[in-house]
């Protein structure tokens, strides 16, 4: 399937597939992304769909999109602007035109540009006419009609025929980027194994799209994006939510403890529960509780009897769990609370991403209630930090909050599969019947961690609860000095975790320099891409992206002191920066904030840093 047309080499490309919710764009995008990953590219994706289950057809509100960024260098974000936009209808064009690069290619399904659809999209006139000023390359394809034509003898009903038009679009794009069709063909055979007519039809349309692209004038060249230099290993695609679920299970297996997850469904966290529920084969127990409070309470009950209890949720659910979290704080039971952040306050923007639950995670409980907080920074490393959260919970006998966000959770990326053997060991302080002179609140001198006697252990019967407890023995105590001591123990215990986490790394100049960009959690891809582009331009900029939030890594102050200026980027109105002002008050932090339910763009980050560089 070679072509005589010109070939252009590129380092990276962004494609956005967009159409009506029913047009199958998520599947199309995933296929392209998987094929590219298999081909050896670095890939990052971003699915973007309406909040409604079935948003009204043909309208901008009903547009579903899937963006794929792939290339031969490190790809860490789905990209700000796209090189290729596939728009299956006028609404898709309207919703996405602003995100196309001036030199980009737009492929439209011209068959859907009738008066009705143009109106529904909110255009007063056909946007494809009178657009002489466009710098885009416009490819008008009769995607619907050609699909119909291709399948006219298939014997399928019209609805099924039209539904496969997404494969035609995919075929066009495969040709453009010189991709093999086999992965998708295999996929179609598997997916429609039971209805071979449909599998055949889809494959036929896919090839028809490919051939169409090969033949028409409008596409004068195609592109070559060579494989990237990727670390050796076995890879798979993984979403943040799946990676989170797997990280939890990996930690449980490593600690040799049963995993129990009590949760209540909530967007965008539900998939973690769903993924865990699939894993009865690994002995995972999940319970869809009656509400968030029951979710965490069942998990606490499970932790109490020697499981690793887990509960998963998003902002409003975390608010509901806050009273119960404190029970785990005062009883010093291990527990992992996963909060997949979304736009707030209140119900807010449930399908959008944000980093605005940090305050709540740090401070949202009555009394003096210190707790470790860990944040994932890529879809893939949700695995690592779910593992770390669990490790910390078990080794330090404390609830831990893992923060991810809607962007990481739904986003997928190729991910190198770790080997279980290489993961750090996890040793919870469980005691057995032999334990001499067991006292439930006797602490390890170095870590201040108490020991865990699990119900069922002969001879270690004891009572715990939410009232303040006597140092050592753990019985109820109203002694004033004891309360202060216990509050200090609980605080210091969390601070001492800094001995059990790695030092903070710097991307850029380890020995210091002009500007230190500071980020945390899910903004990593955008911040590091921006910083690396600036560095390529010769700018003196480095990045510290935090995953361990409380406690902060021990070298934080040391690192900060090596830079002249400190600017904190985050997707909220300034929560981490305020936290740093308390924890490391020696520095004068600048801040850049965005609260739009969207990730940063590389462009805005670079602009802000360039401005700062000019201020010199």
């Amino acid at each position: 399937m070679s072509s005589q047309k010109e070939i252009i080499k590129m380092d990276e490309v962004v494609i956005r597939f967009s159409g009506d919710s029913g047009d199958g764009m998520q599947l199309t995008g995933t296929q392209f992304s998987d094929t590219s990953a298999l081909f050896g590219n670095e890939v990052s994706t971003f699915p973007d769909y309406p909040a409604e289950i079935r948003a009204p057809q043909g309208t901008v509100g009903g547009v579903s999109g899937f963006q794929v960024h792939f290339g031969r260098k490190e790809i860490l974000t789905p990209g700000d602007y796209c090189d290729v936009l596939v728009a299956m209808n006028p609404a898709a064009l309207k919703a996405n035109l602003q995100w196309v690069k001036p030199t980009g290619t737009i492929i439209v399904n011209i068959d859907s540009f009738d008066e009705k659809n143009i109106k529904k999209a909110g255009y007063t006139a056909d946007p494809l006419e009178d657009n002489e000023n466009w710098s885009y390359k416009l490819v008008k394809a009769n995607i619907t009609n050609m699909t119909k034509e291709t399948l006219k003898d298939s014997g399928l009903d019209q609805k099924s025929i039209v539904r496969s038009k997404n494969m035609f679009a995919l075929g066009i794009v495969y040709w453009m980027f010189d991709r093999p069709l086999d992965h998708t063909i295999e996929f179609l055979d598997k997916k429609f194994g039971k209805i071979p007519e449909i599998a055949e039809a889809n494959k036929k349309v896919l090839k028809a799209g490919f051939d169409f692209a090969h033949n028409i004038q409008a596409l004068a060249y195609h592109y070559e994006i060579n494989p990237a230099h990727i670390e050796k290993g076995t890879y798979r695609n993984i979403t943040g939510n799946k990676a989170t679920a797997w990280g939890l299970m990996a930690a449980a297996e490593k600690a040799n403890l049963p995993l129990f997850c009590g949760s209540y469904p909530i967007t965008p966290a539900t998939e973690i529960l769903q993924e865990l529920a699939l894993r009865r084969d690994l002995g995972v127990k999940t319970m869809q509780a009656e509400d968030e409070i029951a979710g965490i309470c069942t998990a606490i009950g499970a932790s109490y009897v020697g499981n690793i209890g887990v509960t998963t949720t998003s902002g409003p659910g975390l608010a509901l769990k806050s009273e119960a979290i404190n029970l785990a704080v005062i009883t010093e039971l291990p527990l992992v609370i996963v909060d997949v952040q979304r736009g707030g306050p209140s119900t807010g923007l449930p399908t959008k991403t944000e980093q605005s639950d940090l305050n709540q995670a740090l401070f949202g409980r009555n009394g003096e209630s210190p707790m470790p907080i860990v944040a994932a920074s890529t879809s893939g490393n949700c695995f690592k930090f779910a593992y770390e959260a669990t490790r910390i919970a078990l080794e330090h006998m404390t609830p831990v909050i893992l923060l991810t966000d809607g962007y990481l959770a739904n986003g997928a990326q190729p991910w190198r599969i770790p080997s279980m053997e290489d993961l750090p060991s996890i040793t919870p302080p469980i005691v057995s019947s032999d334990e001499k002179d067991y006292l439930p609140y006797k602490r390890d001198a170095k870590t201040l961690v108490r020991k865990w006697a699990v119900p069922g252990t002969k001879g270690l019967e004891h009572r715990i609860g939410g009232l303040e407890k006597l140092d050592g023995k753990g019985s109820i105590s109203y002694i004033p000095e004891n309360h202060e001591l216990m509050c200090e123990y609980r605080r210091d215990k969390i601070q001492l975790i800094s001995n059990n986490i790695p030092e903070q790394e710097i991307f850029g100049d380890k020995d210091g320099g002009e500007i230190l960009v500071i980020g945390w959690g899910g903004t990593y891809g955008h911040l590091s891409t921006a910083v690396s582009e600036l560095r390529e331009e010769g700018k003196n900029v480095s990045l510290a992206q935090f995953n361990y939030i409380n406690p902060l890594p021990k070298n934080t102050k040391d690192i900060f002191s090596r830079f002249k200026k400190h600017i904190v980027f985050e997707l909220n109105l300034g929560q981490f920066v305020n936290y740093l002002r308390n924890e490391q008050p020696e520095f004068n932090y600048l801040q850049y904030n965005k609260v739009q339910g969207l990730p940063f763009t590389i462009e805005e980050i670079k602009n802000r840093i360039n401005d700062l560089l000019k201020e010199k």
């Binding site: 998987d34 298999l38 990727i230 670390e231 050796k232 290993g233 076995t234 890879y235 798979r236 695609n237 797997w246 299970m249 990996a250 297996e253 049963p258 129990f260 009590g262 894993r279 009865r280 084969d281 690994l282 002995g283 127990k285 319970m287 509780a289 009656e290 509400d291 409070i293 029951a294 309470c297 069942t298 998990a299 009950g301 499970a302 932790s303 109490y304 009897v305 020697g306 499981n307 209890g309 119960a324 029970l327 009883t331 190198r416 599969i417 279980m420 119900p455 069922g456 252990t457 002969k458 001879g459 019967e461 004891h462 009572r463 715990i464 609860g465 939410g466 009232l467 019985s475 109820i476």
Partner: protein, 338 residues
């Protein structure tokens, strides 16, 4: 069962009991300790989980594993305990406020799911620990600190609420009826699934005599009926009163020997009957027309949630190729980069 032969004293912890002198809770803990001694499983296999309230101080006084949790959540935490380790025998303790006010949702859901718990509901019809506010079981018109002019709320009947939530086991006792409570707890413990035991408890300080009409020794035998599965529903000082179903399908009191009523006319208690219809009528009985039902009212076999969860794990494990995390990590679409 275990080698050792326990006595009730084995279940007493070293903590001084802090309930008011005369509080019904003293008798209830004695019943529980006697029941545990009779059941005689290893002490370390008991987990006693409570919420918050006077009654919820219970675990501190028991020399077993115990967890005094937060207000209203005892049922949810006990659910987690049992599902995570079904070998443990779980006793859940709640006051009427803990179970039916703030904890109402967990109460109905535990019953619906049929988690294998013995749920003891200490119903003193008042908030004791916070010093005397009405509860969802307080009678209509009750004057308390938060209802100085009287309430205007119809109370829950906890056992009826439980039936509405598809309960499989419900029973009722009285704090001072130590043997009855003990016997019920032994039955509840045998029953797999949620066993709800409502215990009419006297709060001497804030609601003294709330159950007096029923518990009053002198008239007790006329006002209480102690149900036993397979036995006719008889009561009264001379055990000559009985219950029948009248033509409108309602329970009515008759006297044996009067109007030709014979012992064989009296309803025989069938706690195991799947259809909760008669059980519902029994929970609906109110003084003075009808006696108050005590004993095990309903006890129907059904799979417990925690059992089924474990069964599902066994089944899925058998048929799945994924045996460990490494299998999972490599399952499905993967590719090599060399």
């Amino acid at each position: 069962m275990c080698d050792k032969k326990y006595t009730p004293a084995d279940f007493k912890s070293d903590q001084e009991i802090r309930w008011c002198p005369g509080c019904g809770d003293h008798a209830i803990i004695a019943s529980v300790q006697r029941a545990m001694a009779e059941i005689n499983i290893p002490k370390e296999d008991w987990a006693v989980i409570s919420g918050i309230g006077c009654s919820s101080r219970f675990p501190y006084y028991m020399n077993t594993y115990g967890f005094h949790t937060i207000h209203g959540r005892a049922a949810a935490i006990a659910t987690g305990v049992k599902c995570a380790n079904s070998k443990l025998k779980v006793i859940q303790i709640s006051g009427d406020g803990d179970a039916t006010a703030i904890g109402g949702n967990h109460f109905i859901h535990a019953l619906r799911r049929n988690i294998d718990l013995t749920m003891l509901l200490f119903n003193n019809k008042i908030y004791g620990l916070t010093k005397g506010q009405y509860s969802p079981t307080s009678e209509y018109g009750k004057k308390t600190k938060t209802s100085p002019y009287g309430t205007f709320e119809k109370p829950f009947k906890p056992l009826q609420l439980a039936l509405g939530a598809q309960a499989r086991f419900i029973a009722r006792s009285i704090d001072t009826s130590i043997n009855l409570t003990k016997d019920i707890i032994i039955e509840a413990n045998k029953h797999k699934g949620t066993s709800l035991v409502e215990i009419l408890q006297n709060c001497v300080i804030y609601n003294d005599g709330a159950h007096k009409y029923v518990t009053d020794r002198e008239n007790a035998r006329d006002r209480q009926i102690i149900l036993k599965h397979g036995k006719p529903m008889l009561f009264g000082k001379n055990n000559d009163k009985g219950l029948i179903l009248n033509s409108k399908g309602k329970l009515t009191v008759v006297e044996i020997g009067k109007h030709g009523v014979k012992l064989s006319d009296i309803l025989v208690h069938d706690a195991h009957c799947l259809d909760p219809h008669i059980h519902w009528l029994l929970t609906n009985m109110e003084a003075p027309a009808l006696p108050v039902a005590l004993g095990v009212i309903r006890s129907v076999e059904d799979n417990a949630y925690n059992e089924e969860l474990e069964k599902q794990i066994v089944n899925v494990k058998q048929s799945s190729k994924i045996k460990c995390m490494n299998d999972l990590l490599h399952q499905g679409d993967t590719w090599e980069v060399k």
